[in-house]
Symmetry: D2
Subunit: 140 residues, 4 copies
């Protein structure tokens, strides 16, 4: 993906100087993709009934992570509050989806991989939230 | 739109009994549509430069409202936390976009209408957040 | 929804003069919403296994209709080809989803309503495609 | 990204055996991300007016590529027609956006990189369309 290069070419310098931003964007897109495929793979299993909750959380997590990745790909000046609120929604959705997928990981490889993608995304969101809090405190 | 009928036909009864849910979903979809058109209309004006911030906030608000409307259209049991976090992100994005659009409303009719759609959505999100807080307190 | 008013306030006059445009946008958003709820309602049924194909088509149809509604809400000059291609994708997705939902309509009210929303959207897309073909032929 | 591993773990074997599928999904997500950032970067330039058409095409291309990547991440049996129609819409949107971005590439690095991401995505869509046509002809 061209995320790092795109951020570096943005006229707003503060974008590409923010530690962990491109990693979080990539984690969001990866989590969105993994969750869509995991939901579809669950629906393709011989008995999808025990996976109903997993499919639903995959759907929610996928759309929230997608939107979060797209929001972080913009840089509207002074809209840090929107980023923080959307990152918190993404963090919660990823944590819940990771937990549910993990509980099916012994039986379904796609749930195991998806849980991994969700955890990575949750951690990236958490770290970016910390970085934003520090940035806000140190701004004049 | 068929929102009310769809919610009533959902097997989870608590969905259609929640006050203000279908209104909030409709407000989210309406705000998403208005913001997309407002951004495009701003870009079609003779001089879009003074509207750059408005276009950016329209884009953010539109995608967040869209995703919020879609998340509220599902009813994963016990995922109230995700709803709350996503509603908060939508509330903030709508408030900021409404304020920005309002400041251009004397010159651009599309900004005036979009500000209205954003405010309606923000208020619906706020009321649903209150209803969810009450529901959480009163659940056993 | 504010669709009609938003289109009328757009600086590009050809937007709001196109017959059936605002109806198609609304049908797309309505279909997107109905399909998301239908998929979730199917997953909430006692036995979701026979509905697996319905849930998958709901998911596809919902995202395609959503994007089509958002694309039609913009008016980039001379990009009629993109509109036509996206409308064709939406038409096919809605027709397939309507057919599948219809086959479950005797047992599930949400499938019956969703089939209706999909058919309305398919018809709106078909009519707009005809209108665009006439517009293209009559342009100098 | 985990695309390849997710497709390999899908219960429908035909998914991961399709040549070029995971590359096309990745190209779609990459193009979606690059286009969102390019639109925002264009809006952050000192004079965004000459970039208005570029910003609009970026917006369209981004949403269409996103949805295409998400549709390809599922595998509903016998819905090849939806894939084909959506791939055609993505191909056209990417070609138009690539051409427009290319025309600004001498002045804006983000347009140069985005044009590259759009071209890669267009080519991947074209190759997958060819592979699907062969698959359809050879199926009984």
């Amino acid at each position: 993906m061209h995320i790092q290069d795109m951020l570096k070419s943005h006229p707003d310098r503060t974008t590409h100087e923010m530690s962990g931003l491109s990693e979080t964007i990539e984690a969001c897109f990866d989590c969105a993709q993994a969750s869509v495929t995991c939901a579809d793979a669950c629906l393709g299993e011989a008995d999808p009934a025990p996976l109903a909750r997993c499919i639903r959380l995959n759907g929610e997590c996928s759309e929230i992570a997608q939107t979060t990745g797209r929001i972080l790909s913009r840089r509207v000046p002074a809209h840090t509050e929107i980023w923080q609120a959307q990152l918190r929604a993404c963090l919660i959705a990823c944590q819940m989806c990771a937990k549910e997928c993990q509980s099916h990981s012994a039986h379904h490889q796609h749930c195991r991989i998806c849980a991994d993608a969700c955890r990575t995304c949750a951690q990236a969101c958490e770290e970016l939230l910390s970085a934003l809090a520090i940035e806000l405190r140190s701004s004049p």
